[in-house]
């Protein structure tokens, strides 16, 4: 199973993934024309912040079974079997919002989307960049991430990297040569300052 794996501690909150997502879902697929399109594109991934310094890029996990699919009364949600992506048929969506109520991650938003689609707000969640996957690419958010906070790949491979890192660190007390390096000293110092700032008052 391939997925976009989140390494939260590496997210710097730049929101580059959000911009890349909006571009990938625009009609022109290009930054400058995209911001001029009549039906504006928007991100399907959300970089949320707690205390102004703890960040988490939140995105559809394409669950299986997917609670949103299970509750949809019109069958507008379906699974694309090759990639495991949960997709929305905008024309079938009746904007009832039940999928959003069932979503454990709170990532479903209702938006106007470019045609072919009805002229109303529909479930416009992440489609796992199905078009890009079909062209041999990876989801735009993972492609845009420059810090490794979002990585696309076989989930067990990505977990194995974390596991072997943990093992290496635990057994050898090493850090620098592991595949997912430990947070560098200066970044740790910065986070400590931000944590202290957040804790004042």
């Amino acid at each position: 199973m391939k997925t976009v794996f989140v390494r939260q501690e590496r997210c710097v909150g730049c929101r580059h993934c959000e911009v890349a997502c909006a571009i990938a879902h625009s009609q022109s697929k290009s930054l400058i024309p995209a911001i001029l399109e009549e039906t504006k594109s928007y991100p399907r991934i959300f970089v949320e912040a707690v205390d102004n310094y703890l960040k988490f890029p939140n995105r559809c996990r394409h669950c299986d079974p997917a609670p949103c699919m299970q509750v949809c009364p019109t069958g507008s949600l379906s699974r694309e079997e090759n990639t495991g992506s949960v997709l929305v048929d905008y024309l079938k969506c009746i904007s009832c919002g039940v999928c959003a109520m069932a979503c454990p991650f709170g990532i479903i938003e209702f938006r106007k989307v470019a045609k072919p689609a009805p002229d109303r707000e529909v479930n416009a969640k992440c489609d796992n960049c199905i078009e890009r996957l079909g062209e041999g690419g990876i989801p735009a958010c993972a492609y845009a991430c420059k810090t490794g906070a979002l990585e696309f790949g076989e989930i067990n491979d990505l977990i194995r990297v974390s596991r072997s890192d943990f093992t290496t660190r635990m057994i050898t007390s090493r850090g620098a040569e592991t595949e997912v390096p430990v947070i560098p000293e200066n970044i740790r110092a910065f986070q400590a300052v931000m944590e202290k700032l957040a804790s004042l008052s």
């Binding site: 730049c14 390096p181 560098p184 970044i187 300052v193 008052s201």
Partner: protein, 628 residues
């Protein structure tokens, strides 16, 4: 939001009672303020916060992976140290330019006044004019004041582009300090040149050595502190008088219920001081009465407010974060701004009420405001016009939407370097004796702004209180001074909060334990104070038991001030992390390496109590080295 939520949120945002009251009003009325915009901007980009994003050229923007991934070089090949140091130099140069260009305008008005073109201006401090003229080698004996002023103004203006490779005002530093600058190659050569050279070095393919970049940043900051800022302070004193101690009031309660309220906001006293003078005109008072008002109430804001408070005792409505709150009282007829630290959205805030925002500088226009251009040759007429405009707006005030807090706070201000020296009997010996005896342990300058990352004024007030408790004298400028004014620390009675030694000295002299030394360009007064004490002791500034702090800074100007403090030998603690944490080398140089050059360094510490510990430790280190 429930009433309870609103109260909790207001308490989270600001320390001052009157600020909290009006924040509650903005939340209740749905008027957007700086805190709302800050929340909407979360999360802010980590590349930017770490200083590892470079947007200088069209091959970029580039960013370095702070976790050590593959993107370790920009397209141009710049590494993280280069990018971080270059960004810091860029920010610092913007700050230095802001101070120095403000200074240039004051010197220009001095020149025009001397030539008889300035409308309503005169040389107010002839003694200071003579003193500066002597420094500049200008003949004063038997010459007319205006002739001397003209020569001096030209002399100072020349500093901006001088080819003599030194700034006259920087000669005021003690010999030991200047020797460090010469040895390290950071003696400022002219005011504008350092900024232009900084811009050059930042261009792709020029300076890639972070040490070299940071040394030039130090030189650029010195051209501000000992150049442009000092020129601003000195020439403002010559034109409008050197401040002497006076009392006034501060906080949002300074706004009047039944008078025409005019808020004078920004940094430069040139037009605002003229408005102060013109407001005395009985015709304008009559006009205000005809409109149903009981008179005209001028209040200051930010550093324009500090300038007017220091010299004319004009009440101070508040600091950087109070500009929207003042408008939100619903009682401000006009907000007159010059430049720096003016929210670009201020006309939107004003649009929620009847307030008219009047921009006055050709360098600082904001669409949606009324523009009344400041020109020295028509300054009095412009001031008159602006006051009239405010008066005419008085009938538009909606009494149902007015809320003005009660009880302004008393403040004592006006502590120029000259005044402090005079109060001590013309020499720093009594202060030095008190420091040697340990009655006063040392002195700390707290400066800087407000920043939504920290509760407004919390850092300033907590640090000042903690330092005076430890018998450390505090001098302040800018928004820091306003914060402590609102908190009641700028009155002689605040000596009760000080340690026994400091309290006894304050009571003897009848002064507060926290001294208001002026606006942010007046940080140059702190430099002169330190230089004169050092010279009396026969040491460099870096040897003195003093420190600096900017607990709530936000502005590029604060980077320049912090750096000229450190470059002059003053250990400085920043409460907000500068955008340099992406580079360990830059961090280490500024927090440690620079010690070997100037015997001072930067530290980052958000907690004001821990900041006090750091400053006290530094003071003790310096005291030990001086054998006291």
């Amino acid at each position: 939001m429930t009433e309870q939520d609103i109260r909790i949120e207001a308490e989270r945002r600001a320390s001052d009672r009157t600020d909290q009251e009006i924040i509650r009003k903005t939340l209740d009325e749905g008027v957007q303020t700086v805190w709302d915009r800050f929340a909407l901007q979360q999360p802010q980009c980590g590349f930017g916060q770490l200083g590892v994003c470079c947007n200088n050229c069209a091959m970029g923007p580039c960013r370095i992976d702070p976790f050590g991934g593959k993107t370790s070089l920009g397209v141009c090949g710049a590494n993280v140290d280069t990018i971080v140091a270059r960004n810091l130099l860029d920010d610092l140069s913007v700050g230095a330019a802001a101070h120095s260009d403000h200074g240039r305008e004051v010197v220009q008005v001095l020149l025009e006044t001397a030539e008889g073109h300035g409308q309503g201006y005169q040389i107010k401090d002839v003694e200071k004019l003579h003193r500066l003229a002597t420094e500049y080698g200008i003949q004063t004996d038997g010459r007319a004041t205006n002739d001397i002023a003209k020569d001096l103004a030209l002399g100072i203006l020349e500093e901006y582009g001088t080819i003599k490779n030194r700034i006259q005002l920087a000669e005021r530093a003690p010999e030991q300090t200047k020797e460090i600058w010469r040895k390290t190659g950071i003696m400022p050569r002219s005011i504008d040149r350092e900024i232009v050279e900084a811009m050059h070095r930042i261009h792709m393919g020029v300076d890639a050595d972070y040490v070299n970049l940071l040394l030039h940043a130090m030189r650029t900051s010195l051209s501000d502190g000992w150049g442009g800022s000092m020129a601003a302070t000195e020439c403002s004193d010559i034109l409008f008088g050197t401040p002497t101690p006076l009392t006034s009031i501060t906080n949002l309660a300074t706004l009047s219920r039944d008078k025409v309220n005019i808020v004078l906001h920004g940094h430069n006293p040139l037009l605002s001081q003229m408005i102060v003078n013109v407001a005395e005109d009985p015709d304008l008072k009559r006009m205000a009465e005809e409109k149903g008002a009981k008179g005209i109430n001028l209040v200051g804001m930010c550093c324009t407010g500090n300038e007017l408070l220091m010299r004319s005792g004009i009440p101070l409505a508040g600091s950087f974060f109070d500009q929207e709150l003042a408008i939100a009282t619903g009682a401000v007829e006009a907000m007159v701004v010059d430049y720096q630290c003016i929210y670009h959205s201020i006309p939107l805030t004003a649009g929620c009420y009847h307030t008219k925002v009047i921009t006055t500088s050709t360098k600082g226009k904001i669409s949606g405001t009324i523009y009344k251009e400041f020109k020295p040759e028509s300054a009095r007429d412009t001031a008159h016009e602006i006051i009239k405009l405010a008066i005419e707006n008085y009938p538009n005030r909606n009494p149902d939407r007015v809320r003005i807090p009660e009880r302004p706070m008393k403040v004592m201000a006006g502590f120029s370097e000259e005044t402090i020296r005079k109060a001590l009997g013309g020499t720093y010996k009594p202060l030095i004796d008190a420091i040697v005896a340990g009655t006063i342990r040392g002195c700390v300058g707290i400066v800087g702004c407000n920043n939504p990352r920290i509760k407004q004024d919390y850092g300033h007030i907590t640090l000042a209180k903690e330092l005076i408790k430890r018998n450390i004298l505090v001098v302040e400028t800018g928004c820091s001074a306003i914060a402590c004014g609102k908190a009641g620390l700028l009155v002689p009675e605040a000596a009760d909060l000080a340690g026994e030694g400091l309290a006894s000295v304050c009571r003897l002299l009848g002064i507060p334990p926290v001294l208001h030394m002026g606006s942010c360009v007046d940080c140059s007064r702190i430099l002169v104070l330190a230089a004169n004490i050092a010279k009396e002791l026969g040491v460099g500034i870096g040897d003195l038991p003093i420190g600096g702090a900017a607990p709530e800074w936000y502005s590029q100007k604060a980077i320049s001030i912090g750096t000229y403090f450190v470059s002059s030998g003053v250990y400085t603690v920043l409460g907000i992390p500068p955008k340099i944490f992406g580079s360990t080398n830059v961090l280490n140089l500024l927090a440690d390496g620079v010690k070997g050059i100037t015997n001072s360094a930067f530290a980052v510490e958000p907690d004001p109590l821990k900041t006090a510990d750091l400053l006290e430790a530094e003071i003790n280190r310096k005291r030990k080295a001086l054998n006291i």
